[in-house]
């Protein structure tokens, strides 16, 4: 895992809070990208295991709407699986606010790229201090080589 070092927050690794409290009291999580969504629709076991343990470890997964749109566009037949992910109680689907859009514009300009989904994921990672859960870290690292990622495998 390529998490940022020196973070004084109580969430030591990837947003999982070490506590004996009931999961409903926990705050911490991960950002899903389009690769993670595609992995879910393909039935990959790594992403399944993350979602399975979410209620026990109190994990939250933030899902940018554009990551869903990418997968829907490429795999329209996978709608049922996408719906399962979007409606999962530990997944929060998020829309891009005007402030988010401005932040993503800045990231894309600074990196001389135009990958809106990846820029949004990087923006959310920075904003929340969470790691991205992805099958393709390189896509995110073109925007920010230091973005903290966890490879799904």
């Amino acid at each position: 895992m390529a998490g940022r070092g020196g973070d004084p927050s109580p969430v030591p690794r990837g947003g999982c809070l070490l506590t004996e409290q009931p999961p409903s009291l926990l705050v911490g999580g991960w950002i899903l990208d389009a690769g993670a969504v595609a992995s879910w629709t393909a039935g990959e076991l790594a992403i399944q295991s993350w979602l399975a343990v979410a209620p026990v470890l109190g994990l939250t997964f933030l899902l940018p709407e554009l990551a869903v749109t990418e997968t829907h566009t490429l795999r329209p037949h996978a709608g049922v699986a996408v719906d399962e992910l979007v409606t999962h109680p530990h997944v929060v689907l998020t829309q891009m606010s005007p402030a988010d859009a401005a932040g993503v514009e800045d990231l894309l300009a600074a990196s001389r790229t135009f990958d809106v989904m990846a820029g949004w994921v990087v923006h959310l990672c920075r904003q929340r201090g969470w790691n991205a859960l992805t099958t393709d870290p390189g896509r995110l690292q073109r925007i920010d080589p230091q973005v903290p990622t966890e490879l799904l495998l």
Binding site: G14, E20, S24, G43, L45, A46, L51, V53, P89
Partner: protein, 96 residues
């Protein structure tokens, strides 16, 4: 009600007393939940919904292996609860 494993029942009651929802499983399938007194029913419903999605995905695509679960626990810096506990809580592919 006859109980096959009183020790397991005692552990389950301890977990419910700590605020957890405990899933009762028969033949590898969830059949009921033990819910703490006064628990937020929405939280219990959310846990149930999450577990149902997990089971449907496992039925459709197969279940993760023990190694998958171990990696998630390690990535989160969470102590490994042991294989028995993992099998009790989650669908797990048979070792082969």
């Amino acid at each position: 009600m006859p109980v096959e494993d009183p020790a397991a029942l005692a552990r389950a009651i301890d977990r419910v007393a700590r605020g957890e929802v405990v899933h009762l499983v028969r033949d590898g399938r969830p059949v009921a939940d033990l819910v703490p007194v006064g628990a937020d029913s929405r939280a219990a419903q959310a846990q149930h919904a999450a577990r149902a999605i997990t089971q449907r995905m496992a039925d459709r695509f197969g279940a993760p292996t023990m190694a998958h679960y171990r990696r998630v626990y390690e990535s989160c810096g969470h102590p490994w609860p042991g294989e028995e506990e993992i099998r009790r809580r989650f669908p797990v592919a048979d070792a082969s």
